[in-house]
């Protein structure tokens, strides 16, 4: 790569230095070095807007939701439902009741897997996932298959990390009930052609769940344009609190599906003989929800919407290209996952330095990376590596941070190869 001067590293898309001031943790040091946070695929940092809103709500406004006719409860319920509207706007559904709050993507997928299967999956039916799914979009379907006598089929992936669509088409049959794939692979960064996947599934009458854990804060979304039946997301991967996330579900399906977790708040009427259920989304929100976290999620959505999802996407692509380029300069480093369409995730492997040693050595430089199988062991097996190191970027990252990563990697390789 040609030696780029500093001015090339300032993006015209976003004022990153200004944005970084919104995130208090980004000015901290780790082992005496400035923090370079590159594990955004695992969880993102929180801006003041989220931190302060949660603090303010917990200090001054907190009450339970939905069940009390007094001021604190009414206000909390209002904020809670306002966030539901914000999620609906973010995901592109005009009906906010198609948004169910859950603890996150894992719970959202479990909800669909178990509830949908009780109503719609029987012995001999088939479920399709892909070879590059997170365990959260693998294990629930394996359990459903065991319980319902259904069969799990897997879309294979090419050497570059793209789903092989011809093979997908061959897997579809009149026995297929649901196709569950991620929008963006957490292990490789591949952006999957979910519109096309949905179209082909619908053509044979199957439903589609898209695991949006990695896409929600990075791509501009519209579930109605994608035409998928379910879409899942996690709040803590989009600058909000942990323990809150959600599910978009097509209303007619949510209405037909049986409840998953049951108890208070999800009922219409309970007698000792019989219970009638509330309408969606309440039907799927038993128990007191994480109220402060929902309020914080609303603040996070406001924050990213103000920056602009188009700008976020464009800038993060710039980071992806730059990071790929500088990491390729590290002798012996292999990038795992080279799909044409990728989000800002770079997974890499080096024969001389194991991913866990990479993580420890980078940590000493203040660079926080993830190393391991990324809860995607079938993906690691497919690519013949025990684990990878992964840099996952956010709009608050800078190109200089990726330079620092590449330089630290060169140092690590030298140390290990001697």
């Amino acid at each position: 790569m040609a030696d780029t001067n500093v001015t090339d590293k300032v993006s015209p898309i976003l004022d990153v230095d200004k944005i970084r001031q919104d995130f208090p943790v980004l000015s901290k040091t780790i082992h005496g070095k400035p923090l370079i946070y590159l594990d955004n695929g695992a969880t993102t940092q929180k801006p003041w807007a989220v931190i302060n809103r949660v603090k303010e709500f917990d200090s001054d406004e907190y009450g339970t939701v939905r069940r009390g006719a007094y001021k604190l409860c009414e206000d909390s319920t209002k904020y809670y439902e306002e966030t539901r509207q914000k999620v609906a706007d973010l995901l592109g559904t005009p009906n906010k009741n198609e948004i169910v709050f859950t603890s996150g993507t894992t719970q959202s997928i479990n909800l669909v897997a178990h509830s949908f299967s009780r109503r719609f999956i029987n012995e001999g039916d088939e479920i399709i996932i892909s070879n590059i799914e997170h365990h959260a979009n693998t294990v629930p379907w394996q359990i459903v298959c065991q319980e319902r006598g259904a069969k799990l089929k897997v879309i294979p992936v090419s050497d570059s990390g793209e789903l092989i669509m011809e093979e997908y088409e061959k897997l579809l049959s009149d026995k297929t009930r649901i196709v569950a794939v991620n929008h963006v692979s957490n292990a490789l960064g591949t952006v999957n052609p979910v519109r096309e996947i949905t179209e082909k599934a619908h053509a044979i009458g199957a439903k589609v769940l898209i695991d949006g854990a990695q896409s929600t804060p990075h791509l501009k979304l519209n579930v109605k344009e994608l035409d998928c039946d379910f879409y899942t997301f996690s709040g803590h991967k989009m600058y909000g609190p942990s323990g809150i996330g959600g599910l978009y579900g097509r209303m007619e399906l949510l209405e037909e599906m049986p409840p998953y977790v049951t108890g208070g708040d999800m009922i219409m009427q309970v007698t000792l003989e019989k219970t009638t259920y509330a309408k969606p989304p309440a039907k799927f929100e038993a128990g007191t929800p994480p109220i402060s976290q929902v309020v914080g999620l609303g603040a996070a959505i406001d924050y990213i919407t103000n920056i602009g999802l188009d700008k976020i996407f464009d800038y993060e692509l710039e980071l992806l290209e730059y990071g790929t380029e500088v990491l390729k300069q590290v002798p012996g480093l292999r990038i795992i996952g080279n799909a044409k369409d990728k989000a800002s995730i770079i997974s890499f492997y080096h024969d001389s330095v194991h991913p866990h040693d990479i993580v420890t050595l980078m940590d000493q430089e203040g660079i926080e990376l993830r190393g391991g199988h990324h809860c995607a062991q079938p993906t690691m097996i497919r690519f013949g590596v025990p684990a990878t190191a992964r840099a996952s970027m956010s709009f608050y990252n800078k190109k200089e941070e990726l330079d620092a990563l590449a330089e630290a990697m060169k140092k690590a390789v030298k140390m290990f190869e001697g």
């Binding site: 866990h356 040693d357 025990p386 140390m415 190869e417």
Partner: protein, 150 residues
């Protein structure tokens, strides 16, 4: 000295690059599979133990990070000629040392060059890497088929 040098000492780097006794032993009397699900460190440990309870040969094979591989390599060189009972004592002291519960610089010990791994105690996420081979060795002696760090 950089903080990480405490962990990645030259001997450890060298054993990672050129692990000793790194092969599948055909005529072992004891063997065990060790797996660390967090890291994916994955080794088979082989022992040849005589009727007198003395370890005549030790080897290992598999894959994992530098800490796990160097630890296994050093373990194989250390245990040859020791009795099974002695090897258990070494394991106990080693394990306590990497947990930070035993300081070989302050107490009498049988650890010798294994003291190199003392710095691991400052890297909590790497303690299992260093101790995996030792757990697996004890698993082999106890005739377990597999050992996991979880």
């Amino acid at each position: 000295m950089a903080y990480s040098d405490e962990l990645y000492q030259q001997v450890i780097i060298e054993h990672n690059k050129k692990p000793r006794n790194f092969f599948d032993m055909e005529d072992s009397t004891h063997n065990c599979h060790g797996y660390n699900p967090l890291c994916g460190d994955d080794y088979e440990i082989y022992l040849k133990i005589g009727d007198d309870g003395i370890i005549q040969a030790v080897s290992f094979n598999g894959s994992g990070c530098a800490i796990s591989k160097a630890s296994a390599s050093l373990m194989t060189t250390f245990l040859i000629g020791k009795s099974v009972e002695e090897s258990r004592t070494v394991f106990e002291q080693f394990h306590k040392m990497v947990l930070g519960e035993f300081d070989p610089d302050k107490s009498e010990n049988v650890l010798g060059k294994l003291k190199l791994f003392k710095g691991v105690q400052n890297f909590p996420s790497r303690i299992k890497c260093a101790s995996l081979c030792w757990h697996t060795m004890v698993g082999a002696v106890d005739k377990n088929e597999t050992v996991s760090t979880e």
